[in-house]
């Protein structure tokens, strides 16, 4: 089998958001007995990176991002049993607990960030929308998270992002987690003000930021 050709096809399947093809190619890799971590790293990850570039260039929009993230999920689902069986885990960039803040029911942006983080190699625990501050922390403690990502669409609920950081401090857990904030009203300046560790403007930027911060954590 021509590995390079296969990897190029895998990348293409992700860029095109073709979940059926991404999953089928993953199955081929499993049957051929390829080293699956390498398949992820050289086949699929370059695809999702390319998608990020196309988004930044204004070529791709939300539907393309969602389709590509779904294709990535299909590929990973097909690889997962093989990865587990071989005892080799695909390298995870870190564990993320994510949700939309208390009082806020908007979850479009949060869902996209969750999907892209997962596609980008993070283990993602999505708590949904209108998540109580305590739940973010309890979940992060339970799964041993590295990141807590908090979304808010409304200026009125955004203040709860700051309260989450305060609550972490109160419970002496602030330094244990990297806290990222996002959502339409958030900004880098707001992240500083809220005492968070970072802000990203969109889902693609969020993955970049999280990877950057993860490498510094390591």
């Amino acid at each position: 089998m021509n590995k390079d050709g296969l990897y190029a096809d895998m990348k293409q399947a992700i860029v095109e958001g073709d979940g059926a093809k991404a999953g089928r190619l993953a199955g081929e890799a499993v049957r051929a007995g390829l080293a699956l971590p390498e398949v992820v790293e050289k086949g699929y990850v370059p695809g999702i990176q390319k998608v990020g570039e196309l988004w930044e260039a204004g070529e791709y929009f939300l539907p393309e991002l969602i389709a590509s993230a779904e294709a990535m999920k299909a590929a990973m689902a097909a690889l997962e049993p093989g990865l587990r069986q071989s005892g080799v885990r695909a390298a995870t960039c870190g564990k993320v607990v994510i949700g939309t803040i208390e009082g806020d029911i908007h979850d479009i942006g949060k869902n996209l960030v969750a999907a892209m983080l997962q596609a980008g190699g993070f283990e993602v625990h999505d708590l949904g929308a209108d998540v109580k501050l305590e739940r973010f922390i309890d979940k992060a403690e339970a799964v041993g998270a590295d990141f807590i990502c908090v979304s808010a669409l409304l200026t009125t609920t955004m203040v709860n992002q700051k309260r989450l950081v305060a609550l972490l401090r109160e419970r002496n857990l602030r330094d244990k987690y990297t806290v990222l904030v996002g959502g339409a009203p958030a900004s880098r300046k707001w992240a500083e003000e809220a005492g968070a560790d970072g802000y990203a403007e969109n889902a693609v930027a969020a993955v970049k930021l999280a990877k950057d911060l993860a490498s510094r954590r390591a």
Partner: protein, 297 residues
């Protein structure tokens, strides 16, 4: 019969209102509350906001029904009360409206996605918007304004639903500036969006939210090249930030916001108003700039 709002738009710049949600908050609406519920719980407060906008010089105000489709109301468990809340929304604005002014029935996004990104079909969206539109018409709306649309497909569902009433329908999309131009979140270009909306029978089209008034000038110029319909522009007062005292402030001051309003009009906007972060004070300042406005008449 009173002249239509569109006739006025042929004679002079029409002035709409500004932000409603932020005004409701200022009157004590709390986090996570359903704004449309205030149409029956706190009708006098809602009416007082409409009155303030009319006093500022607005020709038309938008009803408190932005999240009033049954699909959006379902997130508050209020979907069964959609007709009642929308009728009340229109009635309150109607009661606040002085002679020679208009009531625009506001219709915002469902907050959900159509297939394949989401679970909903176009028929489901269209039927929810049709029900909302007919309740707004019953309550006394003169026009319907479909606002803050980030998905052209959803906007067209809303437009088809709204057109089942006999009212004129305005549609504003929310565009972001990306390296290749202005696009919605879903990737609809200005040209495509305006063309499709015009084809589907919109009476006026335009943009609201996302951009500040300075950025909106460039967008209006881009839109002007794509349609002969009257153009609507309702910019945000910049970006929100939380101040020292925990209160939300917007990055564009009133003076800075209003400075670009003549530019919006010169670029081709015939119907102007505000969006997030704007208040009756902004509308009053805009009215003073518009020849023939209710404030300058």
């Amino acid at each position: 019969m009173r002249p239509a709002l569109l006739d006025l738009a042929r004679q002079r710049t029409v002035l709409l209102d500004g932000g409603l949600g932020t005004e409701l908050m200022a009157l004590g609406m709390s986090l996570g509350e359903c704004p449309e519920a205030w149409n029956v719980l706190r009708p006098d407060d809602v009416k007082s906001i409409h009155r303030a906008y009319f006093e500022a010089g607005a020709d038309a105000v938008s009803t408190n029904s932005f999240g009033g489709s049954r699909i959006k109301l379902a997130s508050h468990g209020l979907e069964a009360r959609a007709a009642e809340l929308n009728r009340a929304a229109a009635r309150l604005a109607r009661e606040a409206a002085p002679p020679g002014t208009w009531v625009a029935g506001s219709i915002g996004p469902t907050g959900k996605f159509l297939k394949p990104q989401g679970e909903f079909t176009e028929a489901e969206f269209e039927s929810a918007f049709a029900a909302q539109s007919s309740a707004l018409a019953e309550g006394g709306a003169d026009v319907l304004i479909i606002e803050t649309q980030y998905d052209l497909r959803e906007a067209l569902c809303a437009l088809r639903g709204a057109r089942l009433t006999s009212l004129p329908v305005f549609v504003t999309m929310t565009f972001n500036a990306v390296p290749r131009g202005y696009f919605t979140l879903m990737g609809d270009s200005v040209a495509r969006a305006l063309k499709e909306l015009e084809k589907e029978g919109a009476s006026a089209v335009g943009a609201n939210c996302s951009l500040n008034s300075e950025q909106m000038v460039g967008l209006v110029a881009a839109m002007r090249g794509e349609t002969g319909l009257p153009l609507i522009a309702q910019a945000n007062a910049g970006q929100p930030a939380v101040g020292e005292d925990g209160r939300v402030v917007y990055s564009q001051s009133l003076a800075d916001y209003v400075r670009f309003v003549p530019g919006l009009i010169r670029a081709g906007a015939g119907i102007v108003g505000g969006c997030c972060g704007t208040s009756p004070a902004f509308i009053k300042a805009m009215a003073e700039l518009i020849p023939g406005s209710r404030r300058r008449a």
